[in-house]
C-alpha cells in the first residue's frame, strides 16, 4: 500500500517570554491509504499540535510533512479536520452548516449541492436539513459535523479528540457511527485521543507518544480477532485488554503530587 501521510523528523518549539518549550521532537511515521491511525499520549505531549502541523495550520519548526508526496505548506485541501466540539454554527441551518467548507472555498455548484443532499439522505439527516443545530442531539450534531468535513472531499481526516465532548454512552455510539461512515467513504483517518480504549477500538495502528517533548515511543499494530470489526466489537475481542495494558504501561501515567 502507498503512504498517504509521511511525517519526517517533525519538531516543534514554542517561544514565549519565559523561554522556549520543545513540544515535539523527531516525530517519524507514515500512514497508509485507507488506514485508521490513533495517536495517544499523556496530556500536554503535543498530540493536537502534531495534528495542526499535519493539516498545515501550524508550520513545524523542523522536519516536514508530505501528503501524497507533496510537502505541506499552508492549509492543505487534502485534509478534513474534526475538532473536539462539533462547532456547528447555530445561526445556520443544518444544510447551511454542511455547505460551510465549500462556501469558504467558493466552490458551491449544483453538483455539490446535490452531493450534500445525498450525504444527508444516506446518513439520515435529510429531514433535519432546515432545522437549526440546537434542535439536534449531540450524536446527530457530530454526524452533521462529519458530513460538513466530508463535503470538501478530503483524502485524510484528522480527528482531534473528536469525541471527547460527548458523554460516555453517546461517545460509544458515535464511535461506531463515525467509524462506519469513514470506512464507507473510504477515507484515511488520524485520531488523536487520550482515551486508550477508544484509540484501540477504532484504529489499525496506535502510535504512543512520550511525555513532553513528545516523540514516538511505540507503534502498535492492532490485530484483533473479531468477525466484523466495529469499535464496539473490537472492545470485546480477546486481545483488546493486552493492547490496553501494553499502552497503559507505555504511557507511564502516575498521579504527580504537588
Amino acid at each position: 500500500m502507498k503512504d498517504v501521510v509521511e511525517v519526517h523528523n517533525v519538531g516543534m518549539k514554542y517561544q514565549s517570554l519565559d523561554g522556549e518549550i520543545t513540544a515535539l521532537t523527531d516525530i517519524n511515521f507514515a500512514v497508509r491509504d485507507g488506514e485508521f491511525i490513533s495517536i495517544v499520549g499523556p496530556s500536554g505531549c503535543g498530540k493536537s499540535t502534531l495534528l495542526s502541523i499535519i493539516s498545515g495550520l501550524l508550520p513545524s519548526t523542523s522536519g516536514s510533512v508530505f501528503l501524497r508526496g507533496e510537502k505541506v505548506s499552508g492549509v492543505s485541501r487534502k485534509i478534513g479536520y474534526m475538532l473536539q466540539k462539533d462547532h456547528l454554527f447555530d445561526w445556520r441551518t443544518i444544510f447551511q452548516n454542511v455547505m460551510l467548507g465549500l462556501e469558504i472555498r467558493k466552490a458551491v455548484t449544483p453538483e455539490v449541492t446535490e452531493r450534500a443532499v445525498e450525504l444527508l439522505k444516506t446518513y439520515g439527516l435529510y429531514e433535519f436539513r432546515n432545522k437549526y443545530p440546537s434542535q439536534l442531539s449531540g450524536g446527530m450534531r457530530q454526524r452533521v459535523a462529519l458530513i460538513r468535513t466530508l463535503m470538501t472531499d478530503p483524502e485524510i481526516l484528522l480527528l482531534d479528540e473528536a469525541f471527547a465532548a460527548l458523554d460516555y454512552q453517546t461517545r460509544l455510539a458515535v464511535n461506531d457511527d463515525i467509524y462506519a461512515i469513514i470506512k464507507q467513504e473510504n477515507k484515511t483517518a488520524i485520531l488523536v485521543t487520550h482515551d486508550i480504549a477508544e484509540s484501540i477500538s477504532m484504529a489499525d495502528r496506535v502510535i504512543v507518544l512520550s511525555k513532553r517533548p513528545g516523540t514516538v515511543k511505540k507503534i502498535y499494530d492492532i490485530d484483533l480477532t473479531c468477525t466484523e470489526r466495529t469499535p464496539m466489537s473490537s472492545r470485546e475481542a480477546p486481545e483488546f485488554r493486552y493492547f490496553f495494558l501494553g499502552i497503559w504501561k507505555e504511557l507511564d501515567v502516575h498521579v504527580e503530587l504537588a
Binding site: V75, Y81, L83, H87, I104, R105
Partner: protein, 270 residues
C-alpha cells in the same frame, strides 16, 4: 387550543395559573400608573402641592392638545426622535466598524488601548461646547454629541464580543482555508449579532442622554429644547409634558429594538 382535549387536568391548571399570574402582573403595573397620576391630580387640585411648580395630569393633557393645535407637537417629537435614531444607528454602525478594525490589526488595537480607556472614562458632555464651536449650533452638533456618548461603549462591547468567540470556531473555518475577511463574515459578525444588538439596546438609552444634553446646549427645537425653555420661563406644564412624552418615546424605541432582536436572533430560541 386544538389539542386541549388531550391536556391533563394538572397541565390545564398549570397553564391557567401561568395566565393568571401574567394578568395579575399587568394589572398591578397599570394600577401603579393610574394611582400615581390620580394622586398627582388630586394633590394638585386640593392644593396640597402647588400645580404651578408640579404641574398636573390635566394640565399636561391640555398642554399636549395646545401644542398639537399650534401644530408643533409632532415637529418637536420628530426632531428629537430623528436625532436619537440617527445617533444610535450611527453609533452602533461606526462602533462596530471601529471594533472590526481593532480586531483586524492587533498592533493598532494595542496602540489605541490607553486612548480608548481615557475616552471611555471622560464625561463626553464636557466636549459639548467643543462640538458646538466646531460644527455649529444645530442638529449636526447634537448627533455628534450623541455619537460621542455611545461610540466608545459600542466599540468596547463589540470588541469584547469578538474576543469571547470560541477560537476553535475560527480554527474550524481556517481548516477550510478561510482568510481573515472570511473569518469576519462567516464567523465573527454572525456570532456577534446578539452582542451588536445588545450594544444597540444600550445605545438607545445613551443616545437619549446625548440628544437631550445636546438640545439643552444648543437647540431651537425638540423635546430637550422644550424642557429647557419651559424651565427658563417657569412653565412647568411644558417641562412635565415634555418629560412624559420623552418617557413614552424612549419606551417605544426600546421596544422597537427588542422587536428587531426577536426578528434577527429568533432562530436561536427554537
Amino acid at each position: 387550543m386544538s389539542n386541549s382535549l388531550r391536556l391533563s387536568p394538572e397541565h390545564k391548571a398549570f397553564l391557567h395559573q401561568v395566565r393568571l399570574s401574567k394578568i395579575r402582573i399587568r394589572l398591578t403595573q397599570l394600577l401603579i400608573l393610574v394611582t400615581a397620576f390620580a394622586l398627582w391630580e388630586f394633590c394638585a387640585d386640593a392644593k396640597i402641592v402647588d400645580p404651578f411648580i408640579t404641574s398636573q395630569p390635566s394640565r399636561v393633557l391640555k398642554t399636549i392638545i395646545s401644542l398639537y393645535e399650534q401644530g408643533v407637537l409632532f415637529y418637536h417629537i420628530g426632531i428629537t426622535c430623528l436625532e436619537t435614531v440617527v445617533g444610535f444607528l450611527l453609533g452602533t454602525l461606526l462602533g462596530t466598524l471601529i471594533a472590526i478594525i481593532l480586531w483586524w490589526s492587533e498592533f493598532l488595537s494595542k496602540v489605541l488601548e490607553p486612548y480608548l480607556v481615557i475616552l471611555n472614562s471622560l464625561p463626553k458632555i464636557a466636549l459639548g461646547p467643543v462640538f458646538i464651536v466646531w460644527i455649529g449650533a444645530g442638529p449636526a452638533a447634537i448627533i455628534v454629541m450623541t455619537l460621542a456618548i455611545s461610540l466608545i461603549v459600542t466599540v468596547l462591547e463589540v470588541v469584547n464580543g469578538f474576543l469571547a468567540i470560541d477560537q476553535e470556531k475560527i480554527k474550524l473555518v481556517q481548516t477550510f482555508g478561510a482568510r481573515k475577511l472570511q473569518i469576519l463574515t462567516k464567523v465573527l459578525l454572525p456570532a456577534s449579532l446578539p452582542t451588536i444588538i445588545n450594544a444597540l439596546k444600550i445605545n438607545v438609552g445613551l443616545s437619549w442622554v446625548g440628544v437631550i444634553v445636546g438640545e439643552f446646549l444648543v437647540s431651537k427645537a425638540g423635546l430637550g429644547y422644550l424642557i429647557v425653555y419651559g424651565g427658563q420661563v417657569f412653565k412647568l406644564d411644558l417641562v412635565m409634558t415634555s418629560v412624559i412624552i420623552l418617557g413614552v418615546a424612549a419606551f417605544v424605541m426600546y421596544q422597537g429594538v427588542v422587536l428587531l432582536e426577536m426578528l434577527l436572533v429568533r432562530r436561536k430560541a427554537h
